[in-house]
């Protein structure tokens, strides 16, 4: 749900990083926070346990360049990945305008990626939304792991050949492709918003139309 403020000439969107436990969602935001110009970002707020596991969410506001006299702002959130925080995940997903699904590339975590994707789909359905209306970018993180699963296996489980989601292979700890992923999802969100304003309820991705899923 975007907020358009014609008084301050700002448009604010919410982007949520969801995904597998310990897949690097918080690391994404930490890297963006560390490497984005200070003028373009607010504080990185983390509601975490003593052992630094995300308890509720991480939050960071970022400001983009002006387009047509309007400043675009993005509220970046992560959700806790652990299974028993599902109620929290569902709450944080409310009002999201775009999603990044962060998967762990480790070969022995493919099942967990799949379960997290299914959980995301259930939460979106419970929030009365779906990927018909919500842009999503897939991020395969930790590509530097020696036991990283081949991309084709991750695609097979998490993506769909007929309506592929954009995929970014990342090493969030080093920042590889983290900004590319953020730029991609923010552009998809803006495109979706533009299409909504233009009156066409066109899906965010070319070819999308019937009930897209990231996992069946």
């Amino acid at each position: 749900m975007a907020l358009v403020n014609h008084q301050t000439r700002e448009v604010t969107f919410k982007i949520v990083y969801a995904g597998t436990p310990m897949s690097g969602k918080t690391t994404n935001l930490q890297y963006v926070h560390a490497r984005l110009e200070a003028a373009q970002r607010g504080d990185l707020v983390s509601v975490a346990t003593a052992s630094d596991r995300t308890l509720y969410f991480d939050f960071m506001p970022v400001t983009s360049t002006q387009v047509g006299g309007y400043t675009t702002k993005f509220a970046l959130y992560t959700v806790p990945g652990q299974v028993h925080y599902n109620a929290t995940r569902q709450l944080v997903l409310r009002g999201a305008d775009g999603l990044v699904f962060v998967a762990d590339s480790a070969a022995d975590r493919l099942e967990e990626n799949l379960e997290s994707a299914r959980s995301l789909m259930r939460n979106l359905a419970d929030n009365a939304t779906s990927l018909d209306h919500l842009p999503l970018v897939l991020q395969y993180n930790k590509r530097d792991l020696p036991d990283a699963a081949p991309r084709a296996q991750l695609d097979y489980l998490l993506n769909r050949p007929e309506r592929p989601f954009p995929v970014f292979e990342t090493i969030a700890e080093r920042g590889a492709n983290v900004f590319a992923c953020l730029n991609a999802v923010s552009q998809l969100v803006l495109r979706q918003f533009h299409e909504t304003l233009a009156g066409s309820a066109a899906p965010a991705r070319p070819g999308a139309g019937s009930a897209p899923t990231i996992a069946s």
């Binding site: 749900m1 907020l3 358009v4 008084q7 984005l36 110009e37 373009q40 969410f57 909504t196 304003l197």
Partner: protein, 171 residues
Amino acid sequence: MIAHLTLTAETIRPLMAALESLASEAEARRVALLHESGLVLAETGEDAHQDHGESGALAAGAFFAARHLARRLGEEAFTGLHYQGASRDFLLAAAGPEALLLVVFDIRTRPAIVRACIGKYLPAVEAAASRLRDQPAPPAAAASWVPDGPRFRATPPPPPPPQDLASVFHS
């Protein structure tokens, strides 16, 4: 699904009037209307505009976490949350189906006064908030929001520490 909420001069005026009346009468330091997603829709008061939305996100999280906890403990009629601090109190109250009211106050006033003022002005806030939906954005503005390349760029990494300092830290 609501695609967007729109604040225009026409829609913000009655909303700000209600929030300012509430802030003034309750002697609150800050009154903010938040969307359930954590976005700050409007705010007023001497402590307003102090951050970039961080407190809105945390307030929404605290409200829904408390409501969820209340339900698990068998309380279905949860409508608000009051934190009593040493120098600041805050009250969070539901304002319609998808908005929250955050009122921050100090020793100049009392929780009972703040609650009474919330009760008095809540209908006006809810009515004004409901008008934020269904507001079309001007077509000219719509045309200007076409994506146009990377919006975020990483700054260069910080330089490594001088050799002598590095050797001290690693010795």
